[in-house]
């Protein structure tokens, strides 16, 4: 049994310690907002927060995730998350939407670290997340919009 703390709740998961966190989230906890895209940390669809850092849950073994504070898209509910969702809606970012959980998780860490990111900051912070629908231009606009919506 592995103890996981996800979105503020404690869980005991019966799984092998080398199983990636992604599968515990999706299959054991039924938190399917975190997506499977590549399984090798190439696309960012599986991005979650672990102790405040954006990590690729598809390559994070449960042994490393145990006891850490894990936040998934379902539990991302702070002020930054609200601004991001409002901005994503205003800019009509999602197309197929499959990568967008990961995009928002990555953007949330970016905005926490750089409340007013430049285009270069966005390039650097978001280049790990692939969007095959090509919504990049709108992601960029939405991040700038979310940054502007912050209370000074």
């Amino acid at each position: 049994m592995i103890s996981l703390k996800v979105n503020g709740k404690n869980y005991e998961v019966d799984a092998s310690p080398d199983m990636p966190l992604l599968w515990a989230l999706r299959e054991n906890l039924e938190l399917t907002g975190t997506k499977f895209g590549c399984g090798m940390a190439q696309c960012g669809a599986c991005t979650v927060h672990m102790d405040g850092n954006a990590v690729r849950s598809c390559v994070t073994p449960l042994s490393r995730a145990a006891g850490k504070n894990i936040i998934t898209i379902e539990g991302l509910n702070d002020d930054i998350a609200q601004r991001l969702r409002d901005a994503w809606t205003a800019e009509e970012v999602p197309q197929c939407g499959y990568c967008q959980s990961g995009q928002i998780m990555a953007a949330a860490v970016l905005l926490r670290e750089k409340p007013h990111p430049t285009d270069e900051d966005i390039d650097y912070g978001m280049a790990g997340n692939i969007c095959r629908c090509g919504t990049y231009q709108r992601i960029r606009k939405a991040i700038h919009r979310a940054a502007k919506a912050s209370t000074p």
Partner: protein, 718 residues
């Protein structure tokens, strides 16, 4: 008909919340987990037709037969209905329709989302559907008030009477029962459109930003197991024998079964199934061992010989007195669709029926294929269309293999199962956009105008041998394989388009913009070559040859003007232009490009002009142009599936690269106001991008990029 099946939690929450408002259409039983089943609907909802459910709480559910794969069809189709229905947009809820002939695409005769055809094929039908529902609401109100219908009108979800009386659609649900839907309805004058042609907000954004949207990959039904399939490493290969002992020893692995396309390892979850597959021992009988280097040589040789003639005007071989002649070759590789959501399908085969949960573009085919495997009647096979995490054609397959695999496994183990593809399975799974080789021979007269144009395409056909062969093949030519080449908009007195069928060693398939994805590259680069050979400006040269194509010429003019064609640019930058008609739409693009010190292309901006006739949602059109440009640039810079010893060399996103945000250009879209024939928007933005960029690179480097993907250092290549 059955519209009461879904596994969407959001819909459950919405319906639950709406229950307080009055009539509860139906409810779910969440105790079953995420495989939510519904009990039969309560009787008093108004179902004026297969597409609309009016509920007593004033919510209106639209059942959409077209699959939502990102292109915005759920929203656009709802706009058509809601506008003619005079519905209140805030009350619209959209849901995937079941597989049923009521939802057959009017143009295809089956339920199939593709060909950028949803909007124009539903433009008439769904507006009539909406107008018919509006007429029912008016008649119901007139009946209730005991007044003539002529004195009633409708607005924003209410029927109004000249006396000042007002009643909501929801309050008319009971009165509307039994009213025969009128078939002869008058459609609105476009000037009265309230939602059509407006940038109405997408209906699916919320569930795509909070993790609640349910894609095929996310489905879980009671008792469901997860399977991965070991498929042959070589296309056309077969299982000779296998030993499952080690696989079965992996904790969580339950069964190992052989199916038509390989060996399935069935487990309690994906990780166990995947580990089980790694331990599985299979001996294969290989198919033909394709090698990309050999294939390239073969295609090159084929391209030197006359092919089957797709189009002939004048006589290219009889041209005399040419001032200049060009003879060049273009090439494009096999491509993987690489939609973000790896392929998957849930199947639950029982003696009395079969449920399939799948992000599919082709419900009718999946239903027929499942019926064939199970021996059930097609109507016993229920297709639950989930959100599609991208598709680009990969989920519209004529052999229905994605569903077939899951149905075969479920049938074999007598349990529900989700078959999942890893990214590697997906990249190596075939059904690629074809490898193509192009021979282009042209000549110019003394005035610089083209005298002759020969375009010879060598590529596979994915139509021959399918039910669509008869439609696609004319005089021995797969017209889909040469589409775009055969509609040359430039005036050339002697024109010939030919095709050679390539080696059928790999399963191929349509991918976003299909034949146009490679023919436009050859065609739009070659006309640029002719322009430079003639010493003319490539924009003006094209335009001078397009008198018979006013819509195409107009977008060319608009794109050139908006991009500032001919005006000065910062040092080191250049513009390239391309124009192409596909899927009934007309698009021109101007790419603004530079080349770095290491020879890498940087695309700064793409200006796009589109004429797709009347528009349903201009913001969706812009989004599709933005996405198409990035999609095309991925192909231009990176896309390449190649073979060695019959095996696909690429594996995952590290060696099958996709464009990322730091490389993505700004796309500026200009939509032409038009009342002309309507066209599609999902695909036609793709074809002009690669040639526009290649043409700009030529201006900077004097090197013609005639092969995709473009080299990493464009200074060194011709």
């Amino acid at each position: 008909m059955n519209d009461n099946t879904t596994v969407n939690r959001r819909k459950f929450l919405q319906t639950g919340a709406l229950a307080g408002g009055g009539l509860l259409l139906s409810f779910y039983m969440p105790a079953l987990g995420k495989g939510l089943k519904r009990v039969p609907p309560a009787p008093a909802t108004c179902a004026p037709n297969a597409f609309i459910r009016i509920n007593a709480d004033n919510s209106i559910k639209i059942l959409c037969g077209h699959s939502e794969m990102g292109q915005g069809t759920y929203t656009a189709m709802s706009q058509l209905i809601a506008d003619e229905m005079d519905a209140d947009w805030s009350k619209i809820v959209v849901e995937a329709a079941p597989a049923h002939q009521d939802y057959f695409n009017p143009g295809f005769g089956m339920q199939l989302t593709g060909g950028s055809a949803s909007a124009y094929s539903e433009w008439e039908r769904l507006r009539k559907v909406g107008a018919s529902a509006r007429a029912i609401m008016i008649e119901a109100a007139a009946k209730k008030w005991n007044v003539p219908a002529a004195g009633c009108t409708a607005k924003d979800g209410f029927v109004l009477h000249s006396s000042g009386k007002k009643i909501s659609y929801g309050d008319l649900v009971e009165a509307a029962q039994g009213i025969t839907p009128p078939t002869d309805v008058k459609l609105k004058d476009p000037k009265d459109f309230k939602y059509i042609g407006k940038p109405v907000k997408r209906l699916d954004t919320k569930e795509k930003t909070n993790g609640e949207g349910i894609f095929g990959m996310d489905v879980k039904i009671p008792g469901m197991l997860v399977a991965v399939i070991q498929r042959p490493p070589v296309f056309g290969g077969k299982v000779k024998s296998f030993n499952a002992d080690k696989a079965k020893a992996v904790p969580g692995v339950q069964q190992v079964v052989q199916i038509d396309r390989g060996v399935a390892v069935v487990a309690t979850g994906y990780w166990a199934a995947k580990q089980g597959r790694e331990a599985l021992e299979v001996e294969w009988e290989d198919g033909p061992l394709l090698d990309s280097v050999e294939q390239r040589k073969l295609y090159k040789e084929m391209a030197n010989k006359p092919g089957s003639v797709a189009l002939k005007e004048g006589d290219v071989s009889a041209v005399t007195g040419a001032a200049k002649a060009l003879d060049v070759e273009y090439e494009t590789p096999y491509l993987n669709h690489a939609q973000m959501e790896p392929l998957n399908c849930v199947a639950d085969v029982r003696a009395d029926g079969c449920d399939i949960y799948i992000g599919t573009q082709a419900q009718t085919i999946d239903q027929m294929v499942a019926a064939g495997i199970t021996g059930l009647k097609p109507e016993q096979v229920k297709i639950h269309t989930m959100l599609l995490g991208g598709a680009f054609g990969r989920r519209a397959i004529m052999d229905g293999h994605i569903a077939a695999e899951a149905v075969q496994v479920s049938k074999a183990i007598a349990k529900p199962v989700k078959v999942m593809w890893s990214r590697e399975d997906d990249v190596r799974g075939g059904y690629y956009r074809q490898f193509s080789h192009h021979k282009m021979i042209g000549s110019l007269g003394a005035d610089g105008k083209p005298l002759s144009w020969l375009h010879r395409v060598v590529c596979q056909s994915f139509m021959i041998g399918t039910p669509m062969e008869q439609m696609a093949v004319k005089n021995g030519v797969d017209m889909i394989a040469v589409e775009g080449a055969t509609e040359l908009p430039y005036e050339v007195p002697n024109l010939q388009i030919e095709w050679h069928r390539g080696t059928e060693a790999v399963p191929t398939l349509w991918m976003r913009s299909v034949g146009h994805s490679y023919t436009a590259f050859a065609k739009e680069c070659f006309i640029d070559e002719l322009a430079f050979a003639a010493g003319k400006d490539p924009y003006q040269y094209r335009r001078s040859l397009m008198d018979k194509h006013p819509r195409l010429r107009n977008v060319l003019d608009v794109a050139a003007k908006k991009a500032g064609w001919g005006t000065a640019l910062p040092a080191g930058r250049a513009r390239g232009i391309a124009v192409h008609e596909s899927f009934k739409s007309f698009i021109a693009q101007v790419a603004e490009v530079s080349v770095t010190a290491t020879g890498k292309i940087k695309v700064h901006k793409v200006v796009c002009a589109i004429d797709c006739g009347p528009t349903i949602n201009p913001d969706t059109i812009k989004a599709q142009m933005e996405g198409s440009v990035v999609f095309a640039l991925t192909s231009a810079f990176y896309g390449d599936i190649s073979f060695e010893n019959g095996r696909v060399k690429q594996r995952n996103f590290h060696d099958y690269k996709i464009m990322r945000i730091n490389e993505a250009p700004v796309v500026e879209t200009h939509i032409i106001e038009s009342t002309d024939t309507m066209g599609g928007v999902g695909e036609p933005g793709v074809p002009p991008t690669a040639p526009a960029v290649a043409n700009a690179v030529f201006v900077l480097t004097k090197n013609r990029l005639r092969k995709m993907p473009f080299p990493a250092d464009v200074r060194k290549t011709t």
